[in-house]
């Protein structure tokens, strides 16, 4: 059932993702901290976050506000699509270093 329904949707969505012009924003993890800690993205638009982990240890980019979680292994980068977002502040954190790795996405 999933194959029958999901597949056409996936194909449609995938082709849509390729065709649409999705703005890209960069986020860096270094010394268990996010850089920048506040990242501005346009509201009402799907955006692509490129999360670069410069540390040797893996980190999990996680956000309850955005319903997102993704492991970024050491010395690598990961892609996370978010939005379209309503204007506002959405906090995220590094699940493996919650004390230091904190930041927020500001949609405006």
């Amino acid at each position: 059932m999933f194959a029958r329904f999901l597949f056409p949707i996936l194909l449609l969505a995938a082709s849509g993702a390729v065709l649409a012009d999705i703005p890209v924003f960069q986020l860096t993890i270094q010394n268990n901290r996010f850089q920048p800690t506040e990242l501005h993205v346009p509201a009402g638009k799907k955006v692509k976050l490129l999360v670069h982990n410069r540390d040797a240890a893996p980190e999990e980019f996680e956000s309850y506000d955005l319903n997102r979680e993704k492991i970024i292994t050491g010395k690598s980068s990961g892609t996370v699509y978010v939005g379209p977002l309503a204007p506002g502040k959405y906090s995220f954190f590094g699940d493996f270093h919650r004390d230091t790795a904190r930041g927020s996405l500001i949609a405006d």
């Binding site: 995938a14 240890a57 309850y64 506000d65 993704k70 492991i71 292994t73 690598s76 892609t79």
Partner: protein
């Protein structure tokens, strides 16, 4: 050390709760410990392999390999749980009878337990690989790693402990109600997993993103213990989107109607035979 304990606890908790429900749902079945335990052990082995190849997995499918993997794991688990529930609705009655007559043995025929092996294994696989990566990061980090690994051990034990408490609680349910309760639990568990799978597909950019329909994080945050338990058990999300809700309800309705149809057919054959 405490931080490590909490992180490992949260990862272990989900798998432990799922396995507790599966064990309660198969009470009295021969060799169910072997099937479900074997699935869990295979899941641990798989988690180590997945963690070892996490980098390559993440790079696959234009950087969305991890999301596609998680979504596939979740949707496969949903199918296994669906199959179990539909099978159970045909056989619950005879299982209750045989559980009541101690020593009568299970006359209901063999429950295809490998479905639950796979479901248990997948739960461990997904949560376990995150645990392994986290602990690997600590071990690679050098200083304080012994204390942090100790914390991880405490988290592991605590997670399994909470699972054991849930299991003991479920066993207190009278036999005639037990399979009905575990059926509902598995149904909600599966619906929550389907919604999580939808989130992963949206994160990968394969399904569109939507704004949340409502926000109940002020009342019950997903960060809180209660919020987290409800998230695992019934798929609670403080900010669900129309995508989450669609996957949730579609799963509820498909499995629920399958159970209802099979149970109805079973009732009719039972009536015809009597």
């Amino acid at each position: 050390m405490l931080a490590a304990a909490i992180i490992v606890f949260r990862e272990v908790l989900e798998a432990a709760l799922i396995i507790s429900v599966l064990l309660a749902a198969t009470k009295g079945l021969p060799r169910r410990n072997v099937w479900i335990g074997g699935g869990a052990v295979a899941g641990v082995a798989g988690a180590v392999v997945v963690a070892a190849f996490a980098g390559r997995l993440a790079e696959a499918f234009a950087g969305s390999g991890q999301e596609l993997f998680n979504a596939a794991v979740l949707l496969t688990a949903v199918l296994m749980l669906a199959w179990h529930n539909i099978w159970m609705s045909a056989h619950a009655r005879s299982m209750v009878t045989s559980l009541k007559n101690v020593g009568a043995g299970v006359s209901a025929g063999e429950l295809p337990l490998y479905f639950l092996s796979v479901a248990a294994g997948l739960a461990v696989l997904r949560e376990g690989s995150e645990c392994v990566l986290f602990l690997y990061g600590i071990a690679a980090g050098g200083d304080n790693s012994a204390a942090m690994l100790g914390g991880g051990g405490i988290g592991l034990a605590a997670g399994i402990g909470v699972g054991a408490v849930l299991y003991q609680g479920l066993l207190r349910i009278p036999v005639r109600l037990l399979f009905r309760v575990t059926g509902w639990l598995i149904l909600l568990l599966a619906a929550g997993m389907a919604a999580s799978a939808a989130d992963y597909l949206s994160q990968a950019g394969l399904l569109p993103g939507y704004p949340p329909l409502w926000n109940t994080s002020m009342i019950l945050s997903e960060r809180s213990i209660t919020g987290q338990l409800l998230h695992i058990m019934v798929g609670y999300q403080a900010r669900p989107t129309v995508l989450d809700l669609t996957f949730y309800i579609a799963t509820l309705l498909s499995i629920g109607s399958g159970m209802w149809l099979v149970a109805g057919r079973e009732r009719r054959t039972a009536l015809a035979a009597s």
